[in-house]
């Protein structure tokens, strides 16, 4: 079977300095001075090759500036490659933003036709889909009102609706999903799900790992213009999360004293430092501390905080029998199971505590800040609804008791 998209050794170079609009004076000055700065180059994409089979739904992930969007722009023919070749079999539509070409003076109805044809639909197609589009957007009542009188929510809903009804063989989508209120976002994701199972070839760029995991069958990771991983969604997302080590992960100034103090605190997934967690993997907190005066009056205490809310308090004695600490370096690891924390931002307050009077040898509040991305699990736990609230995901043990 022939490929839907074939990308061969694609590269894209930007000329820094010389890029952008200039005025004539600068241009002439540039010609005269032979300033080397104007020749500075930047490779946004380097030697990218991959194929996409018809009907495949591929996620492109990577940090900002990794080259995902540049690649999408080249495939959609907005921007030109510096070298390499792309072959596309089928009609292509790209959705790099919603509402391209919308004009505030025109009515909703008129903008549907305008936007639709800019996106490559024929008049006939738009006409046949018109009712569906209006229905999906939920702005029927205002369809003959100029869109400048729309609320921003209505505007975005209408814009997305047009885009969602495109029917090309190849669809390129750049993170336009996150539009509108929560309700509408769910509707959008649902619609994207429908589209992704309709046999169309889709390339989807997103920072939302949950959406990628849910919609895509394969994912590609980019880093600084290079293709790093091309494989299953789980592998690629795993690699991405591994790579996203926080700059200040565990960094703190130890405060030595005559008793005991922390020297290292790290959040790890397996053996990798992380600061973003997904719900599918265990993670652990590793604490290393120095004891100067041997003692049996010491607890390693950890409080997990979500914002200002306390999630739990735990001390090493919950599980360990260690009571006496000799002089020297000690290391503890606390492991937390997967499917435990709901999405959000967390941090730990960590203490070396004297249980006899409750005072501290060393207090390290607000350490190890991390994020839990709850969106990344939908494929594995279909029953789990996003944003269900609560501090933890606690499945409990459910049984049917009566007959």
């Amino acid at each position: 079977m022939s490929k839907a998209i074939e990308i061969e050794n694609l590269s894209k170079k930007f000329q820094l300095g010389a890029i952008g609009t200039q005025n004539l004076r600068h241009w002439l000055q540039g010609l005269m001075s032979k300033d080397p700065r104007s020749k500075e180059e930047f490779w946004a994409l380097q030697d990218i090759s991959f194929d996409v089979a018809p009907g495949e739904v591929i996620g492109l992930i990577g940090r900002n500036g990794a080259g995902k969007s540049t690649l999408l722009k080249i495939i959609s023919r907005i921007s030109e490659p510096t070298s390499g070749k792309i072959t596309l079999n089928g009609r292509v539509s790209s959705l790099l933003e919603v509402g391209t070409g919308f004009h505030p003076e025109l009515t909703g109805r008129e903008n549907i036709f305008l936007n639709g044809s800019i996106l490559g639909m024929t008049r006939k197609e738009i006409k046949s889909k018109f009712d569906e589009i209006v229905d999906f957007s939920g702005v029927e009542k205002f369809i003959d009102t100029p869109v400048k009188r729309y609320s921003s929510g209505m505007y975005v809903r209408l814009a997305f609706s047009v885009a969602a009804h495109l029917e090309p063989e190849i669809l390129l989508v750049d993170e336009v999903l996150a539009v509108g209120d929560h309700e509408f976002q769910k509707k959008c994701l649902g619609k994207m799900g429908d589209i992704s199972t309709s046999g169309r070839t889709i390339i989807f760029v997103s920072h939302n790992m949950g959406a990628v995991a849910e919609l895509c069958s394969r994912a590609i990771l980019f880093e600084q213009g290079k293709l790093i991983t091309d494989g299953t969604v789980d592998d690629t997302i795993g690699k991405y999360i591994q790579g996203s080590t926080g700059p200040d992960q565990g960094a703190f100034e130890p405060s030595p004293n005559e008793h005991a103090w922390f020297t290292k605190m790290e959040l790890k997934r397996q053996d990798d430092l992380v600061h973003t967690l997904d719900l599918n993997h265990d993670f652990s907190l590793e604490l290393t501390f120095e004891v100067r005066t041997p003692t049996d009056d010491l607890d390693v205490a950890v409080i997990l905080m979500k914002g200002t809310q306390r999630v739990f308090f735990s001390i090493h004695k919950d599980q360990l029998e260690t009571h006496f600490f000799a002089q020297g370096t000690h290391s503890f690891r606390m492991t937390l199971p997967s499917m435990y924390l709901t999405g959000g931002n967390y941090h730990f307050d960590i203490y070396l505590r004297r249980p006899s009077d409750g005072s501290h040898y060393d207090a390290q509040p607000q350490r190890i800040q991390f994020t839990v991305d709850e969106l990344s699990l939908n494929t594995h736990h279909k029953g789990y609804a996003q944003k269900r609230g609560g501090l933890t995901i606690f499945p409990g043990e459910w049984k049917k008791v009566n007959e």
């Binding site: 005025n23 072959t87 009609r91």
Partner: protein, 271 residues
């Protein structure tokens, strides 16, 4: 199945005409959008579109009637000037519109692919509506003054076609240049104002004397305006100078296409 191959660069004379045809609906829709937006506001908006050229018309007529009494071939000065102004107004609105068309659609150009040529072309099509309005007014005035349309009227479409090519050609040059250098946005109005004086709108080209006539015809609008006046009023039949104007139109149009074509795929990176 539709197949597209994307590589760096393209041939000088590959204008993507097939693609342009495939996107023809978008041409109408862009044109319609411009007209709709222009006339959507108020009835006064439409009036202003007429008042502006009307003012120029009155001034030009007055100057060339009283100050320099030119040979109008027996027609009232007003009719003579209006027939010249029809083509000039069209030309200048296409040049200004097409010249700024890419820059004013930056957002669209950097987010969606479509043949960029459609943007300047839509301005040329849209301005035809204004031209039609002027021609209707001209016809009414012709009857008002008791003249019958000239039998040379059948040549009018040919001269309108030339005016389209001239307007689009110059517009393509300006839009291609102003993508790189915004200075050109300021050059356009200057160029058009100068053009208005070196184009025989309110006077026949013959009145400048033979010595200057050839030079005048280097301005493509000279041939087109003389030709249009001849088709409508049947006076001052075109001379060999027209050939010169047509050659200039062809050169400007084709070179404009090439220049625009060269920069087309770089627009999103530069703009």
């Amino acid at each position: 199945m539709h197949k597209t191959v994307i590589t760096h660069g393209k041939a000088w004379f590959d204008f993507g005409l097939k693609e342009l045809y495939r996107y023809r609906e978008l041409l109408w829709i862009l044109t319609w959008r411009d007209l709709k937006v222009r006339y959507a506001q108020t009835i006064v908006g439409v009036l202003w579109a007429i008042i502006n050229p009307l003012f120029t018309l009155v001034v030009l007529t007055f100057v060339f009637k009283t100050v320099a009494d030119v040979d109008t071939g027996g027609y009232p000065h007003l009719l003579f000037t209006l027939s010249g102004m029809a083509a000039w107004t069209y030309f200048s609105s296409v040049v200004a519109g097409a010249g700024g068309s890419i820059i004013s659609s930056q957002q669209m150009v950097s987010k969606v692919y479509f043949p960029r040529l459609l943007l300047p072309l839509s301005k040329a099509v849209g301005a035809l509506v204004d031209l039609a309005v002027v021609l209707v007014i001209l016809t009414i005035m012709l009857f008002w003054y008791g003249f019958a349309p000239s039998s040379t009227l059948i040549y009018l479409p040919a001269f309108i076609f030339l005016a389209i090519l001239a307007g689009v050609g110059v517009g393509l040059w300006i839009s291609a240049m102003s993508i790189r250098f915004r200075d050109f946005m300021y050059v356009t109005p200057l160029l058009l104002r100068l053009g208005m004086f070196i184009t025989p709108i309110a006077y026949p080209v013959s009145s400048v004397g033979e010595k200057w006539e050839t030079l005048m015809y280097l301005n493509p609008m000279t041939g087109i305006i003389e030709g249009m006046r001849w088709s409508i009023l049947g006076i001052h039949p075109p001379t060999e100078g027209l050939t010169l104007s047509i050659i200039v139109v062809a050169v400007v149009f084709i070179s404009g296409l090439i220049v625009f074509n060269r920069i087309e795929r770089k627009i999103a990176d530069i703009i």
